[in-house]
Each structure stands twice: as structure tokens, then as C-alpha cells.
Symmetry: C2
Subunit: 685 residues, 2 copies
């Protein structure tokens, strides 16, 4: 099948190339595809000076288009190119790379000292779909097979947090974020074609594409307001609106019925409820028909109705999170929640409102679902499937959606691609079974909180319990919401240890957060398990000091001194992982190996074999970054299951030494193991 968008891109780059000399640099990690040496200059920093037209065109022609093949259509999901159906369970054995394109493919290409939207060459220095292509060979080197994209839809620019505003404040679900359009194609390609080219390229490299869908919240200046003001909550514009606090209830209380009843009696809540009003269309249709034609509808509504969109806040009572000023909630039901209706003083006169009950509409449904809205939300994924052939999605705040709406969303996507995968934004492994019952293929889990906490035993618990979960969890030590693992306890050493160990977590889906491969220390957001101190991991003179990628113009530190370390390691260990991947996901073929030390993690995986050798993989990690240990390790149970009698093995990998023969046997059942500080050893016997 022809990769039509990539072909168009190559042609466009050829057409638009000029004879201007280009002093344009890219990080050397962006060239994992042997760009010809005589076409570039390696600068002293290690950055590569290239002609961007030639560079990206070479990449498209030589790396992607060469992979086009008969019978493979890069425009549809990879699973749809296969015969075997798996209901999206391919995601369970994937290796995922999470990226926000605006950040991941950002670079100060002209070295002016600024990430310019329009640089010396009228090119963009923040990330674009096209520049993201240059990272795919790096991902492929690490054996990443799934690209997980943070939101790529048009988002709010009204309430800008930071330089840009958050991609989670979506203003239009089906339009792509214009920030990600690359000016290198001028007006010769649309942004849709550019994203389509990226998906084509991923598919040609056997990399699936998963997007992030946000059906529960949306920007306070969402494009839908003009057509459907009644899908939103409105408050009086001239009165102070704040996140309510309920007297006598603990901070962060889950909104069960009992505390809710207390809350509704609270004066501040009553004041809060009184701020809400009917939507402007319902209030005055004739006026609305004029107002909705205004350029700035929100401004017009404010002037004519004294109304504005109500900002969102957390679904937990008295949560300490700051108000979410850039987003609001959709009005999922047309009436008040059934269970809490009675708590209202005058339900008939109460205008639709945002409170813990309406936020948590999965727990507190009304009687009248807002069906046109539900249809709209359920159609988001299908439009990305049809236009780009994406392979899966994460549902943001899916736990706060009514079950019937979630069912609709999943059903519509599966109707197009029965193997479309769904990832639940479920952090608690306890609820993995619920997520499974809802139709999710995996959950996010809490690896980012557990794995860095070694001496409390959290890490051990995390790495031992995963095998018992009904569906896999991410094997991850950081996400875009959390501190960076290289900035935490153990720094780069433990970051390396955990990144390797995550490749072998039973029932785990290894998850690399963009930047983790270059030991990035600056978090992208402070949403989870972070403190304000996490803003300040970079030196003050760093251009991205105190910047958060979710809101600000940021590039990753691709020129980190040890930038090739994790990519080189992952290139090696992912090959080992693949050979035992089936076993890792089958509890029967996983044996936990134990010592008395909470810093020790040990796994044995075995294949059924008649050879009595070469069928056991032993993965051992010392999560203490500062101390080494020696253990006598009992592998008797593993030997027995594997029916393996070999007294010589191979050290296939260590973070601390070169591969070698492994002969440290105390006896048939006991290994004599030494692990250096933070060492991971992978032994095959």
C-alpha cells in the first residue's frame, strides 16, 4: 500500500527546498537512521547541523517509504492488517512511549537561545507532527512498539497556563492542535495530512498509535458552546466563583452520599449553588440567536446575560488541588442527579450546577441522559480511527463517566476495529477487575508512586503484585504528571535500574515517559506525587528552569552527557524480553525469587522444553543505589518447573558488567549472586 501522506511530504520538501544555507541543528539522538555523514556537520555540542529539507526528506524516503509493503495498509490500525483478532489485548505485550509532541520534537534549531514559533528560517522550534518523525528511529532502536500521544486536539488559548496552555483543555475534539502544524510544508499540506503522515510512518515501523481522549472535561472556551450552550454549566459572571469548601468535612473526602448530604446543607455550598443559572439559549432564545453569531461568544454572553461558563474542580470534597480554571465539565444529564435531588432546597428552581455529585456522574446519574452530547463524545474516537487509523486510546477521567456512556464509547470504537485497545485511567490496581469488566484492556496503575520507594517496601510490593492483576498495568516509574525518576531518590543510577526492571515486570507494560531515556529531571506537570520543589530540579540558568512542558515552551535535554545510555541498554534488553514475553504474562511461567531484602527484586521465567537447559530466564535487581549485596538465591522451584538441570548459564545483561558465562552455582538449587549498587542482572540458564 502506498503511504500517500509521506509521499506527499517527501515531494513537498523537495519542491520547497531552497538554496539558502541552513544553520539548523538537531540533537544527535534524532539521527538513529544513519543520515549520510557528508550531509551534516557534527557541532562541538554534538548537535548535528543539517539542511532540514534534506534531513526530513531522507528520513521519509529511506526509513519509512522503503518499508511500504504489499498487503499492508498504513492508514488503518495495525491489527486490522492482521488476521488474528485479540480484542485489543495486543496492548498487554506492548512497549509504550508516552510523548507530548509539542515538547518531544522541540529544539532550538537555530541556537538563538529561544524556542521560537517562527525562527530564523521561518521554521517552528516547538514540536510538530513532522519533526516527530525524526524520533521514530530512536523509538525503534529501543524497540518501542506503541506511541502513546498526549492530547493532540485543538486546545484553549483563552486561559493560558504558562506559554501555551494545557492540551487537556480541549476546545475541539475533532480538530488537531494547530500548534503541531509544521511551517516547513507551508500551505502545501494540511495539519491532518501531517498527522496522517506520522501515523503512516509509525505503522510502517510496526509502531501502534494510541491517543488520549478527554470526554469528561473540556475547555471553558470549547467550540461546542456556540451550538450547544445547554451542554454546559453557567454561572453569574459578576459574582465571585471559587472552589467550594465544606465546613466539618475532611480534606479530600470521597463523595459518598453521607458527606454529600452534609455538604448540601453547608452555607458555602448553598451560596455556590445559587450562582448557577440556566444556559443563555434557554433563558432567551431570540437574544441567543444574535449573540451566538458574535466573534467572541463568551464575551457577548457576559455582556448580554451576565453569565459565564463555570470552571471545574476536583470530584473529591475539600480537595486541596487548585481550581481547574481552564476547563469545565459537560452536562451529561439534563436533570439533577437522582440520588441527591432531595438535598436541594428547591430542585425545580435550581439551575444545572457543578458539584461533587454532578461531577461524579457515574455514581450519581440523572434520569435524562444528554443523548446528543453522548453521541458526540462517543464519536470522538471513531473520527480518529477513520481519518488516521489509530490503534487505541486512553480515556481521561473515564472513571467519572456514566457506565452507559463509557459502553457507548467502547462499542463505537470496537465496531470499527474490534482490536482497538482501551487504557483505563485507573491508578489503583485494586480496581483492575472493575476496569476489565468495563472493557478496558489495561490500567495505568501506580508504578510512578510505588517503584521509587524502595526501603518502605512499596517497590517490592509493586513488582511482586503485578502478576496477580486480571489485566496488566504500566510498568513505569514516571509519567507526564509525576516527578522524573532521574530526579528522585537514587537519581540516574536507580532510574537506569528501574527502567531496565520495568522491561521484565510480569503482567506489566513497560512505559517510557519521553525524556526518561535521557535522564530528564524536569517534570512535565506536577499533577501526581509531586511537590512545588519538583519545579526546581534544573539549574537556574537552564532555559527550562521552572518550566512545565504541559503548559510551557519546553524542549527535552536531548544533549545530556549520557543520552545514549538508556537507548543502548534498551536496544539490548528488549531483545531478551521478547524471547520470554509470553512467559512474563502467564502467571504459571513466572516464579518470584526471594531474599530477605526489600531492595531485592527477582523473577524467574521459564519455557517448557525437553532440553533441560536454556529455558529459564532469571532477572535480578538490587534497588539499593548505594550498596551492594551478595545472596545465596534458591532457584529450586524454578528448576523444577522448568525441568532444567544445566550448571552453566549466560549472563545476558548487567547494568554493571559485560555479558559473560554464568557459573556461580552453590549447588544445583542455589545461585551465588552478587549485585552491585542498583545493578540488574539477567541470566539465562
Amino acid at each position: 500500500m502506498n503511504a500517500k501522506n509521506l509521499t506527499k511530504l517527501a515531494d513537498t520538501l523537495k519542491t520547497l527546498k531552497t538554496e539558502t544555507p541552513y544553520n539548523y541543528v538537531v540533537p544527535d539522538l534524532w539521527n538513529c537512521f544513519d543520515y549520510p555523514k557528508d550531509a551534516m556537520i557534527q557541532t562541538r555540542s554534538g548537535e548535528l547541523m543539517v539542511n532540514p529539507y534534506d534531513f526530513y526528506r531522507y528520513l521519509v524516503d529511506e526509513v519509512f517509504i522503503k518499508k511500504t509493503r504489499k498487503g499492508f495498509d498504513p492508514h488503518i490500525a495495525i491489527s486490522q492488517n492482521n488476521k488474528r483478532r485479540d480484542r485489543g489485548d495486543w496492548v498487554k505485550k506492548s512497549f509504550m512511549y508516552s510523548t507530548m509532541i509539542r515538547t518531544s520534537s522541540a529544539w532550538d534549531h537555530d541556537r538563538s537561545g529561544e524556542l521560537e514559533i517562527n525562527n530564523l528560517y521561518n521554521l517552528k522550534e516547538t514540536g510538530t507532527f513532522i519533526k516527530m518523525l525524526a524520533l521514530l528511529p530512536l523509538l525503534k532502536k529501543m524497540d518501542i512498539d506503541t506511541l502513546y500521544l498526549l492530547p493532540i486536539s485543538k486546545h484553549s488559548t483563552k486561559i493560558k497556563k504558562g506559554d501555551f496552555g494545557s492540551p487537556y483543555a480541549v476546545t475541539n475534539f475533532t480538530e488537531l492542535d494547530p500548534n503541531l502544524k509544521d511551517p516547513i510544508t507551508e500551505d502545501k499540506m494540511t495539519i491532518d495530512e501531517e498527522f496522517a503522515a506520522l501515523v503512516e510512518a509509525c505503522h510502517l515501523l510496526d509502531i501502534r498509535v494510541v491517543i488520549d481522549i478527554i470526554p469528561r472535561t473540556n475547555a471553558i472556551d470549547n467550540d461546542l458552546i456556540a451550538k450547544h450552550p445547554d451542554w454546559f454549566y453557567w454561572v453569574k459572571a459578576d459574582e465571585a466563583y471559587e472552589t467550594p469548601r465544606v465546613a466539618g468535612i475532611e480534606d479530600g473526602t470521597y463523595p459518598e452520599l453521607e458527606p454529600l448530604e452534609v455538604a448540601f446543607k453547608d452555607k458555602m455550598i448553598q451560596k455556590h449553588l445559587s450562582l448557577f443559572d440556566e444556559d443563555p439559549m434557554t433563558k432567551d432564545l431570540a437574544l441567543w440567536n444574535k449573540v451566538k453569531r458574535s466573534k467572541n461568544i463568551l464575551e457577548a454572553v457576559k455582556n448580554h446575560y451576565n453569565l459565564t461558563i463555570a470552571p471545574a474542580f476536583s470530584d473529591y470534597i475539600n480537595d486541596l488541588q487548585p481550581p481547574w480554571t481552564d476547563v469545565t465539565f459537560f452536562r451529561l444529564y439534563l436533570d439533577h442527579p437522582k440520588a441527591t435531588r432531595g438535598f436541594l432546597k428547591n430542585p425545580d428552581k435550581q439551575a444545572p450546577y457543578i458539584l461533587y455529585d454532578t461531577i461524579k456522574s457515574n455514581l450519581y446519574p440523572g434520569d435524562k441522559p444528554n443523548m446528543p452530547l453522548w453521541e458526540t463524545l462517543a464519536n470522538i474516537i471513531p473520527t480518529y480511527q477513520k481519518r488516521f487509523g489509530i490503534d487505541g486510546a486512553r480515556i481521561d477521567m473515564g472513571h467519572a463517566l456514566p457506565k452507559p456512556l463509557l459502553d457507548m464509547i467502547i462499542k463505537k470504537a470496537k465496531a470499527i476495529d474490534p482490536d482497538f485497545a482501551f487504557i483505563a485511567e485507573e491508578l489503583n490496581p485494586k480496581y483492575a477487575d472493575i476496569a476489565e469488566s468495563f472493557g478496558y484492556n489495561m490500567i495505568i496503575g501506580n508504578g510512578f508512586m510505588m517503584s521509587p520507594r524502595v526501603f518502605t517496601g512499596h517497590a517490592k510490593e509493586y513488582y511482586q503484585e503485578s502478576i496477580k492483576l486480571p489485566i496488566p498495568t504500566f510498568a513505569c516509574s514516571e509519567t507526564h504528571d509525576t516527578p522524573r525518576i532521574a530526579s528522585r531518590f537514587g537519581k540516574e543510577r536507580l532510574a537506569t535500574t528501574l527502567t531496565v526492571l520495568n522491561m521484565f515486570m510480569p503482567n506489566g507494560v513497560p512505559f517510557l515517559n519521553a525524556g526518561q531515556e535521557v535522564y530528564e529531571v524536569q517534570p512535565m506537570n506536577l499533577g501526581l506525587d509531586a511537590t512545588e520543589a519538583d519545579r526546581y530540579h534544573l539549574p537556574e540558568d537552564d532555559p527550562y528552569y521552572n518550566k512545565l512542558a504541559l503548559f510551557d515552551k519546553v524542549a527535552l535535554h536531548y544533549m545530556h552527557e549520557r543520552r545514549w545510555n538508556i537507548p543502548d541498554i534498551l536496544e539490548h534488553v528488549s531483545k531478551i524480553r521478547k524471547r520470554y514475553l509470553t512467559q512474563m504474562h502467564n502467571p504459571k511461567h513466572v516464579i518470584a525469587l526471594e531474599t530477605d531484602n526489600p531492595a531485592f527484586i527477582g523473577y524467574g521465567f521459564y519455557k517448557t522444553s525437553k532440553k533441560q537447559k536454556g529455558n529459564m530466564l532469571i532477572v535480578l535487581a538490587n534497588l539499593n543505589p548505594d550498596h551492594d549485596y551478595s545472596w545465596h538465591l534458591d532457584i529450586g522451584k524454578l528448576r523444577h518447573k522448568a525441568n532444567n538441570t544445566a550448571m552453566e548459564g549466560k549472563l545476558l545483561f548487567s547494568t554493571h558488567e559485560f555479558p559473560r558465562a554464568f557459573t556461580q552455582f552453590v549447588n544445583n538449587h542455589v545461585l551465588d549472586i552478587h549485585l552491585g549498587p542498583g545493578e540488574v542482572k539477567i541470566i539465562e540458564i
Copy 2:
């Protein structure tokens, strides 16, 4: 007067400018002329990204051409624009900046990691006359009034030491070094016009230009060989030629008659003498008339005559210096030296030879001066005077020239400009009177050896003895031949101390070696007071590690963290210096101030005044970079001479504190002085 070459340069830059975007950077020190902020981008390194056409044109138009004035002709020496004659003694009160243009105006403008001859924009990254213009405002800021240029003539590329070869191996005295031509003017300007523009610009800023003339040695592939093979010494091409060593004579013996007699009896010397032969023209005129038309004359002479030019070596017997393979000596006399002729076995059959006697031809003249050659050498300076209006010259190895030849050289220059200044390459202040008698205005002296040696008392001797010299010496702590002062004992701290102190040395001419103002540590050459270890002051990953500017492609470290420190200090103290300049050069107005510490240097200067105050300048330095001292300092003699009774003064400058009132008087005659480590204090009372 019109600055015709600068005007042509501005016009040329305007004509040749294209619409190409230029990612071209210069160090920020190159912009001491307020280039408009909106015309440049300051990169994170501090380098300025500019359009080179606009940048240099703005400089030419706004800084230089604006200074053109009626009655001032920038094409002739500055003195010739004045009415007062001083026989070149203007140089005694000058402040000199020594520069090799190839290095001083070198920069990796496209940040490719290499100093390219032809960079991304077809522009030159090594230094050029035109780029040197951008340094003049920095020089002016520091109040430099004399630009001392290392050789700018065409030099040998046959025997390249390093990347380029030494500018001291001159191949043509009157042609300019084509390396210094700037491709930015393409073929619209000649190299002569470009150097003329530099001299114009200097003169317009009241900066005189002094050049370096090398009449004693010249390149072994000098252009004169074709016309005058008999001006050179020839040896057999197929026999090993080496610097001779004389048995039984100490290393580095001065070639007096006695050791010379011993030498001539030495077997190696006899072997050495036997290698010489008559020049090819004398040997076979008919053959020569063919051979001289060859493209590569030396090669042809070798093939047809088995002869080649004899390389030079030191004039000291058994000097340990390596042979000077890139240069030879001129044959200044047509016959053998009178005094040593008798030492030769067979004077009539001995071909002209290079040995200590013929090298030291001032001591060992022959009877027949090579007059056409002498005329040629004596005409070098006049051609630069006539073509460019230069103001002075240093005579390289002038001490090894016959007195009559030196007289000719000086006389010819003075005939054109009676105020033309001559600097003697005399390092020993003992011989300052001889230099004076020869017509020199000043000597180089030995500041670079003396001033860094604090605890041996050398520094003290140097700073105290200068006032007694009949003509001034350079007040300098490094030259292009020596280690950098910032790399020596006391590092940047003592470098600062000495650089300031040199501004106030009585009878001294402050001398700044290009790079000294940015604490450069890499020497340009290892010719004097240096060891091999001095090659390695830079970190191994520095692009100029182990490079010597005299031979290699090198740029100065203009982006040094404290690059503005010395320029800012000199801007301030040079104003103070000027107010007492007359006194500094008049022994009657200089009083040495004393303590018992060899690290202490103190001067008092006074003006005759009736006010009894504000007429004494006290300069105090603590050359111990690691320790502070307190002294009770007797200024009684100075008070008396100055007829000064004031009990309050001003601390005009300190390297360690801000200016303030000075009131630390023990009594009328005694100051209570505290000097921090390496501190210089300048007090006016």
C-alpha cells in the same frame, strides 16, 4: 578627509548583501559600539547573532566614517597630521595592543565546531583585516592608542608548522598575507584596500598602527629567490643538514671570537661548512635562466643542481632551540666575515655559509655589503608608509643586523615620516642605551619574565628599575612568544593585578597581548620563558587544546566568563593614568614607595601645584595573590616634593573595592594601608 577605503567597504557590503537568513554569531566583546538591539539576537552563550553585512556596515558607517574630520588625513601617519615633531617619541606614552589578526578576529561564526576558511556562508572564520574592525571599539574602550600588528606579509606555506605556518617565515615583504583577505567583499576589494580600511579606521579612532618587520630571516621559499639566488645560502640537497653542535662548548654560548675559533676547528662544523655550495645562478647561468622559469624553483634547483636553501638556526653556539626549518638567513655580505675568515681552512674555496659569525653579522661584518639586498630591506617600511600610512615598526632581530644596514632602514623611514617610531627587539634593559643610540624609541624589555616572579624579587626589580632606563620598555606580563599571565602563578588574580599595575609603571609602555583581556591561558608560541607544559593549559576537550596561534587555526576565548572584567577596569584606570602620564615618564616626578615586602610595589606621582592637595597619585599593589597585608606607608618624601598637606584623599580605584573617600592617615607622613591578596589601590591626595 574622506576615508575612501572604508567608504568603499560600506558600499560593497551594501551591494553584496543578500536576503539569505544569517545564523552568524560574533562574541559580545566585538560589539562595544551599541549595535542596535533589534538587529541582533543574544544567544544563550552570550554570542550575538547578526547579519554580517549589516553588522560590519553599521560599524563602518556609524563608528568610523562618522569620525572623519576636516584637516585629518587617515591615510598618513597620525603624527603627520600633527604640527609638533617628536622623532617617534609618541610611542613612549602610548598604550599598545599586540595582535595577530589571523587569531584575534577568528571566530566559529556558524558554530559548526570548526574554524573554517570557507564556512556555511562562504565567509572566513579565521581572522581578516575587515573582521579586525569589530575589535577596534573594544580597544578604544580600554583606551588603547596603538595597534601593534604581528607580521601581515605573505608567508611560507611550504614548510607549514601547524595548520598555517608562521607569519615570521615571510616569502614576500611587500605583499600582504592573502589569508587576511575577507571573502565578504568577494572580488570587489583588494587585500590592500582592506588593510588600508583597517588603518583608516584606526587613525580615525586616534589609534596608531605599528607593524613587525623581519629583515634578518625570511622563508626558505621566499619570492626573492627567483630573482636573486645569490642573496641566499645554498647546501647540497641530498645530504643531511642539521643544526651543528660543537664539542667542548657550553650550551647557549654567546658567539664571541674565542669560542668561534674553537668551533671552526670542530669536525661537525667542518662537515657543516662542506655542505654549502655556490648559488645556482653563479654555478651555471645558462641553466639558471631555464630553471628560474619553473613553477617550483626550489624543486627544479634540487633536480638540476642538487642544491637547496639552507635552513636557519640560532646565533648562540649549541643553543637548544629546535632548528628553524621554515626560515633561512639573507646573505648580507658578499664575502666571508673579516674577523673569522682566518678560521676557514680554505677561505677562497669555501662557499657562502650559515654559521654563528655570518648570522651575527653585526659583530662579524664582511668587507662587501650586499647593497642591492640592503636597499631592498631598507625599502620595506617605506612601502608600508606610502601605501598605508603606518606609524611605527618593530625590527625583528634588529640586533643581528649590521649597524649600517639598520641606519639605512631607520633613515629611509624617517625621511618619509620623521616621527616614525622604532621598537627594538631588545629584551635586556641593560642595553636600552645602545638601542637608544641606534635610533630606537623604546625597547621590548623583559617584563614577561620579571613581573610574574614575585617572591624572588624579580617583579619588584622590574617595577622599580624601569624609571632609570634611558628609553621606555614595555610594561608587560606576556607577549605572543611567552606563556599567558593568566596561566602562571597567581592565575587570573595576579593577571588582573599586573595588568592594572602595568598601566602605571614609570617609563613603561603598557602592552596588552591580545587575549590577555579575556584571561586567555593558551600561549600563541613557546618561544620565550615557556616549557612544553605550557601547551596544555586548556582542557582536553577545548577546540584549541595544544594549539599555538602562531602556527595553528586558533580563536581566542572571547566568551570567558569574566570577559568584561579587564576591559571594564582598563576603561576606568586608563583615564586616571592619562592625568598623570607626563609625571610617570619624568623621573623627577616619580617617588618609589617602599615596604619591606617583595610583593609590595608602590609609586607616588606628583604634579607641581599651589593648591597643596589633589596633586599626588599613589599606586600601590600587593603582588601576593594569596595573602593580604597591612602597612604603615611613609609618603613623607612625596608630600614634600608635592608640597601637599591634604589629610583627605580619594580611593580612585581598587581591584577589590568601590571608589570611596580615603582617610586612613596615621599622621601627615604615614598612610595606614591594607591591601588584599593581589589588590591594586590607586589613591589621589
